[in-house]
Structure formats: structure tokens, C-alpha cells
Amino acid sequence: MRYFAALTILFMSFATMASASEAPLLADLVSSGKLPPVAERLPEVPRVMQIDESTQRTPGKQGGTIRMLMADPKDIRMVTVYGYARLVGYNSSLELQPDILLSYENDRYRVFTLHLRPGHKWSDGSPFTAEDFRFQWEDILTDPDMDRGGLDAVFLAGGKPPKFEVIDPLTVRYTWETPNPLFLPALAGTRPLDIYSASAYLKQFHAKYADPDKLAAEVAKEKVKDWQSLQIRMARSYRPENPDLPTLQPWVNLTAPPSNRFVFQRNPYYHRVDQNGVQLPYVDELVMNIAESSIIPAKTGSGESDLQERYLSFTDYTFLKEGEDRNNYKVRLWTVGRGSAVALFPNLNTTDATWKEVFRDPRFRRAISLGIDRSQINQVLFSGLAKESASTVLPGSPLYRDELGAAYSQYDPDAANALLDEIGLKRSPNGTRLLPDGRPMDLIVESTGESSMEADVLELVTSDWKDLGIKVFTRTSQRDIFRSRVAAGSTLMSVWAGVDNGAPTADFSPQEFVPTDPYQLQWPMWGTYVSTHGTAGEKIDYPPAEKLVDLYQDWLLAETDADKRKIWGEILDINAQEVFSIGIVTATLVPVVISNNLMNVPVEGISSFDPYGYFGVYEMDSFWMKNAAGGN
């Protein structure tokens, strides 16, 4: 409560000041009376961001345009990712903080009470209240007419949905009988769990509220099947394709697809201000130009983007660096936030019985991991700048320990061969080892062929494993086919990246290290089994994997941070010892091109979709243009 009062006082002190600084883009609208002044647009208690030396940033001024390049009109979702306004959100140290919410209470992960900011408004000026949560819960998520095929798994704790209550117009509550530690991270997710929507606008597309004739006319106009499809189309908030849909994000889309140029303009009702009371975002407009992905490095190098990380890769660094002076930008190297840049996944559920037997011997997995010369791969492909490591969390994570990264990741072909001999895999006269059933060890590695880096790594691994007597073949298939083949168990080994979230804290779910998902390449059948509660897939018949699932269940029920940390540690230890996935290099670098005109972009950062949202946790709304008038 004291916190609340302090904030209120703070707000009072700069409310008068704020009215003086109106964004240049909006000044005319305000003076002509079409838009209320900023003091009336902000919530009564805005979120105050500390943008000064204490956070290695400088307070900025409003105005300017950031140009970005994307490869696909669907990439407009990146603005929702970069903008990162969430009910609760992570800061750059991955601590959870209320953002759109004024505050929240978490009672033993069972009862979550969410408090909204009084006076908070959608980008069209309509109030943001508990009604928006009620509409989403009753009329969208649980309305049988919407035919959504059940609630998202995150809503189910112990298989049961929560009880939803509206306490007052600014307070809502979700109550589960058993703990649901996944709820808050899902709200803070890069792709957030939608538990609220712009009800005032969306009711006109809902049969319960809309005039049937008007609704039928809209359905016909949009050429969709029924009003449900219309509702879904109009309500798409993550990929903001509907320019009329009100939003709480910092920038509002003005362009309806299809288009090759999308313009996003500042949300006049955005809820964050800097410590001087200047309403964020600093930058007036984002312009997203669509170009062929292979041409994006070239266009970026010629200065056509003010802020670019997507579609650039480490191999473009030298080229981008050459254009730095000429085109007035800087190239920074951010660390890729995945657990492993490239990792190999032996399929423990493969339908080939002999190979399955071999893969399930931990000595085999350790041997092939020991047989990879990671240092050469690092030198050849990453100029030695990446880290050689097993597949685990990144060194930046509080859960990292040196022995996790070092587990079976040093190059030792003699030890590897000794292990393979010990298993009893004999060599044929031409040097290839033989499977127990007498076939030569022709190991087919599946790849999506999307990155040349994977192909290069495989080429180097192929020659390393030749010394172990294992002949590697690569099969490339399109991503969807690749995934369905893995899930069907018809693959032996696949190549992909390590875990998505490489730097988790104990609060993050350890599900990527546990059989929980049908798309997990090392144990798709077990993942299916766990995620469908035993109705599909295969029952786990391998003790260490069973142990992982038990630990995961314990984590879900754990109530203290210490317990969660301990469970995480055990899960990582089992993964390190069992080498379920074979990590090759980690902490690889990706170039981020930043215009010299653009301030407050961190020099070093972690590039990751979830939970970082790329620029999301680095608060893109605090970036500002030094020279707002000049385009370049």
C-alpha cells in the first residue's frame, strides 16, 4: 500500500509537467481538441520507467521513425514481441514485474489477484477494465459456441480449470485448487496467454451481443464461414492484422495486410512514462518494410534499417561491419539465448528396434558426444567466439554449473572408441562398426536444411564420427515433414538447436528438459504420452526419463524457490549424465545493426524469442532517435 501511495505522489508531482511535453505527432490533434491532453490519456498511476545513468541509458525525446526489415507480412507480430507490454513482464534480469497491471497478489501459486491501473485506456480511448477479462474468459475462452476445443493447457492445473471472479471493476481473480506455477510466466510470455481483450470493440462480432443482421452482414463482408471465425480474425492481438482493434501495446498498426510496408504509430494512451513524465514510447513510428529474407543482410548493410537483428546471421558480420562508416550504423554482437546453437538428438523412440537398443545405452550417447571435435567446429564456423558445451542451460543462467557444460563435451576419440568397444559394437574390415544385428552403422541424421550452419556442422561431425566407425548420412526434408517424421519415430537422429530458453531461472518451467511435448526430438513418443495424459504415444520405459517426469511433477507442486532450484538442479544433472541431446556449441553470436541515430539500445544483450522477446525485455519503448527529423 505504501508503494501505491509513493507512486501516487510521484505521479502527482509530474502530472503537471507531463502536460507540457506532448509528442510532436499528437500535438496538433490535441490542440485541435480531437485528442485529450496527455495527462488525461495516461492512467492515474502510469508505470514509471527509470531511464537514466542508473540503467545505462539516457532520457530521450519524443519523435522519429525506426525502420526495420522483415521477410513476411506475418512478421508484424514482431512489433508485439518487441513492444512487450504484458500484464506482468520480465525485466532484463528476468525478474517478474507488474507492467500493465498495477500490482498482483500470488497466494501459493493457487490464487492470483490482478489489480488494474485506474484510468487505463485502450488505444482508442475506451476504458480497460475487469469487463475485458470477463469477456475473454466467459465469452471467448469458455463459451461453448466459440468451439475452441478446450482450454489451453496452461489454464489447467491438475487437469482442472480455474475459478474466475470479478472482484470489482479494477480487480479480477483466478483460483486453482492445486498450484499453477505456469500461469504468470504465460502472461509474461513473448507470445502471451490472452486473458483479456478489447471487449467494447469485439462485442460487435459476438452473437451474444451483436445485432444478428449486422453480424451476418459483417460475416459476408469479410467472406468468412461464420461469426466465430469473424471474431477470431478481428480479435487477433498477437499478430495485429486488424488496424481497428484497440491495443495496449506501445505502437498501433495502421496498415491492413496485404502490404509490403507496415506503419505502426505510437499508442496515445500507452501506460508507461519516463521519470520525467514524458510519455513513452519515445519513437513516434515504426515502419516495417517487407523484403526477401536472403536480401535483408544486403539491405541492412546499405543502411535501410535502423534496428535489425532478425534475418541476420553471424556469417554476415564481416559484411555488415564494412558498411558501418558509410551508412552510419554500428554492428553489435548479441549472444544467442538458446541452450545450444546446434545439437544432435538421438531418437529414443525410433521404430528401428536395433538402433533403439543402441541409443538407449547411455555409453553410446556419451561416446558419440566425446567423439566430436567441438573446438574445431568453433574455430571454423564461429571464429572461436562461441563456447563449446554440452546441451544444457547457458552460463548466464543462475542454474548453470561448469560441470553441466563440460559433461562429455571434451574431445576424446580414444575414450569414445573404448566405450563403443565396451558396448560390443565390432568393426567390420572396412572400419565401419556393425550393429548387433550385423548391419553397418549407417546413421541417418535428419535436418530441415534451413540453415547452412547445420549442414556445415554435420559435415565436420561426419568426419569426426568416421573415426569412431560410424558413417553419417544427412537427409533433408521440409520442416513440417521433418517434424511429423520425428514424431512417427521413423528417424534415427535429428539436428536442431538446443532448448529455446537457454538462461532460465528456477521460476521457469523445466519442461524442455523433460518428456512433455510431442515435438521433442529425443523422445517424441514419451512427450506425446505425457502431454496427452497417456491417451497417445508410448509409456516411458526408461528409468532416467521416468525420473525426469516425476521431478517435473514435483516442480509443478513446489511452493518455495529453494525447492524449485533443487529440482531444476537434479533435472539438469540427469540430462548431463544421460546426454539425451548432444550439444555442440553454445553462446553463439548474432549481429544486431543499430543506427547511430538510435539511442538506448544495449551494446550487449541476449537474442532470444522467449522469454527475452529480442528487444522486448530491453524496453524498446525507451529507444529514441537523436535526430528525429533526418531519416537516416
Binding site: S294, S383, I444, T476
Partner: protein, 389 residues
């Protein structure tokens, strides 16, 4: 007819003097050779006069001979990597050092990784004179994939390097890869073209000559085959061919199957040509004289449009070579570790290659030359084979 009663036979004499058929017009030896020459000989004479075609034929001949001994010609093995020479620029060949004539040599590189922009910088060091060794023992290889050997025509100096066209991202010699790549790029299309040519002539020929039921059936079959979209078919084929096959086999398999599907256009052309030609008087004459159908088609009809067939075939081969590049780009054709010019170009297909490592684009040159040469050759052959000129 009987003679009149009082008629006497006319006097006549038979001269003993030798008959000279050229008494009125005397043919020179050259003219005689021309008139008596076989069809093939006539074609060769005409072809010889088409200089670009002749040069192209010699050029292609040499290239095809080179693929017999690629391993020996290439200074390095196809797969040998040099981790210390990644993205090394081409080393130029020198004959003079300090104004003094020497055996051909290259200057060795001093390598430095520029940590500022992560560029690999190579500076020729004039102290390091690396004389090329000739008829030497170098990288080991399996000749034609079978016989282990180490003999090369040219090798780098002991401990030195010889990257006349630079190296790629794994430090592999581009020149060696182009030489090896020729083996696949030049042969991959021949089989498919051959299959489609034979099928097209036989089926189209029979349909055109006999007509009737065979014609109807074959035409409907052609329509069915032409309606099958080729890209999904390729995808399916690429998926079902066993992966433990050598990827070349897989690709050969696919080209043959493509050839099996690709004959339809040619068959239609052959059919329509034959429909027109079979009404000609000389065909009726041949039929009256009792020539068999096979003889009529092969001796009288096919030569009538051989020029067309030759043009089709010679244009189909470079189309196959370009097609290999296209398909590799789509991820359907050849893929590393198989090395063809198309694969090499696919690997060079980004802004880095153009801006920083332009030598990776060298495989363009043989592709252009071969395609041009085939076109000139086809032009010359068509002119030579055309009986109406």
C-alpha cells in the same frame, strides 16, 4: 505388235570404244566425292565450316575427357579441408621472383584474423616461395571411387598451399571442386535426355506412322503424363529413394524417371512431323516398292527431320545442367556433400560471397561456357543436318 511384211531391220552398230559417262560434262574429283558422299559425310563437311560449332565441339570434348581423370587434374582432394585457410583468396601464379625467371610458383599467405570485423586477412608473403610440384604425389584419393592413389599433375609445395581460385568457408580448394563438379554437372543430364529422346522418337514415330488405335492411346497417355505436376513428383521421389544410396544414384534415378516423363513433348513433335511426311510422294514410292515400315521410318522419314531432333537434344542438355542448378536451389536436386557446379553456386548464393569472397562465384564461368558451347554445337549440327539447305 508385229512388223510390216516388207520391212527390214534397221542397220545398227555396237561400238567397241569405252563408254565415258562424263563425255558431255566432266566432273572433278571433288564433285565426284560430293555426289557419292554418304549423308554423314555431308553433314561433317557442312559442320566443319561452322567455326563456332567446331570450337565448341573441341571444347566440350576436352571437358568430357577431363572428367575421366578429375582426381589427377585437381591439385586437392574434393573433401580436403584446411582449417587454417578458410576463405583464402586466389593465389596468383608467378614466374618471376625479383626479376628472375623461376619454375611456376605461388607466394604463401600470412594469415591474421582481424578481431575488429572478424575478417580473415591473407597477405602474400614474398619470402615464402612455394614452387609448384609437377607429376607428384599429394592428397590421397580413390580413383573412380575404387583405386587408392596419390598421383596428381600438379601439387602444392611441401607444407605450402596452391589455391589458384581461393577456398570456401571450410577451407576447401575452389578449383579442385570445380574440376570434380564437372564430373556430375556434365553427365547428369545425358542419361535423362537419352531416355526421353529414345522414347519420344519411338512412341511418337509409331503414333505418327501407324495412326489409328495406337495413336489414340498414346496421345491420351501423353495427356495424362503431361498433367502430372513435376515439382511434387520430385519431392515424392526425393523422399522414397533410399538415403543410403549414394546421393548421385538418387539423382541419377530421379533424372531417369524425369526422362521417362519428359518424352511427351518430343513424341508429339515427332508424331506431327511424321503425319506430314508420310503423305509425301517418296514415302508412297517406298511403300510401292515394298519397303518395310521400319525401313521407311528410319531411312526416309527420320532423316527428314533429324535436324529438329538434334536441336532438341543439344538444347535439352544445357537445360538439364541449368535445371540441376535450379533444383539444387529449391533443395530438391543435388546437395552437399555431392559437388556439382550447381551445388557450388548455391553455396555462393549470398551477399557475403558477392561482397567479400567473389572467387566463390567462379563456377559460374564453366556453366556459362558449357551452355554456350552446347548452343553453338546444336546450331552447327542443325545447319549440317538440315537437308533443305
Amino acid at each position: 505388235m508385229t512388223l510390216p511384211q516388207n520391212a527390214t531391220s534397221l542397220p545398227h552398230t555396237v561400238t567397241d570404244a569405252p563408254f565415258d559417262p562424263e563425255a558431255i560434262y566432266h566432273y572433278t574429283d571433288a564433285q565426284k566425292a560430293l555426289f557419292e558422299a554418304s549423308q554423314l559425310r555431308l553433314m561433317w563437311w557442312k559442320f566443319r565450316r561452322h567455326k563456332p560449332a567446331l570450337v565448341s565441339a573441341i571444347f566440350l570434348g576436352l571437358l568430357y575427357m577431363s572428367i575421366l581423370v578429375s582426381e589427377v587434374l585437381a591439385p586437392y582432394n574434393l573433401h580436403s579441408r584446411h582449417s587454417d585457410s578458410i576463405y583464402a583468396p586466389p593465389q596468383s601464379l608467378h614466374l618471376f621472383h625479383n626479376g628472375e625467371l623461376r619454375a611456376p610458383f605461388v607466394y604463401g599467405y600470412d594469415f591474421k584474423l582481424n578481431m575488429e570485423n572478424l575478417k580473415r586477412e591473407y597477405v602474400p608473403n614474398t619470402e615464402k616461395i612455394q614452387t609448384i610440384r609437377w607429376f607428384c604425389s599429394g592428397d590421397d584419393y580413390d580413383f573412380w571411387g575404387v583405386i587408392p592413389a596419390t598421383f596428381h599433375i600438379a601439387c602444392p609445395a611441401e607444407g605450402g598451399s596452391l589455391f589458384l581460385l581461393g577456398t570456401d568457408r571450410l577451407g576447401r580448394d575452389v578449383l579442385s571442386r570445380i574440376i570434380y563438379g564437372a564430373r556430375i554437372s556434365l553427365t547428369i543430364g545425358l542419361l535423362g535426355v537419352g531416355v526421353s529422346l529414345v522414347l519420344g522418337i519411338v512412341i511418337g514415330g509409331m503414333a505418327g506412322y501407324y495412326g489409328g488405335l495406337f495413336d489414340v492411346i498414346s496421345q491420351r497417355l501423353i495427356e495424362v503424363i503431361q498433367s502430372i505436376p513435376s515439382i511434387p513428383l520430385w519431392l515424392a521421389l526425393a523422399a522414397i529413394l533410399p538415403i543410403t544410396w549414394s546421393p548421385i544414384f538418387v539423382y541419377f534415378g530421379i533424372t531417369v524417371i524425369l526422362g521417362l516423363l519428359d518424352w511427351t513433348g518430343l513424341a508429339r513433335t515427332v508424331r506431327s512431323k511424321l503425319l506430314a511426311l508420310r503423305e509425301e510422294d517418296y514415302v508412297s514410292a517406298a511403300q510401292v516398292m515394298g519397303a518395310s515400315s521400319f525401313r521407311i521410318v528410319s531411312r526416309h522419314l527420320i532423316p527428314g527431320f533429324a535436324s529438329h531432333l538434334i536441336a532438341t537434344a543439344t538444347i535439352a542438355i544445357p537445360t538439364m545442367i541449368l535445371g540441376e542448378t535450379t533444383l539444387s536451389f529449391l533443395g530438391l536436386g543435388l546437395r552437399a556433400p555431392i559437388t556439382s557446379w550447381g551445388v557450388l553456386l548455391t553455396e555462393a548464393q549470398n551477399i557475403n560471397a558477392v561482397a567479400l569472397y567473389p572467387w566463390l562465384l567462379w563456377p559460374v564461368l564453366p556453366v556459362i561456357l558449357v551452355v554456350l558451347a552446347y548452343n553453338f554445337l546444336g546450331d552447327g549440327l542443325r545447319d549440317a543436318a538440315d537437308p533443305y539447305k
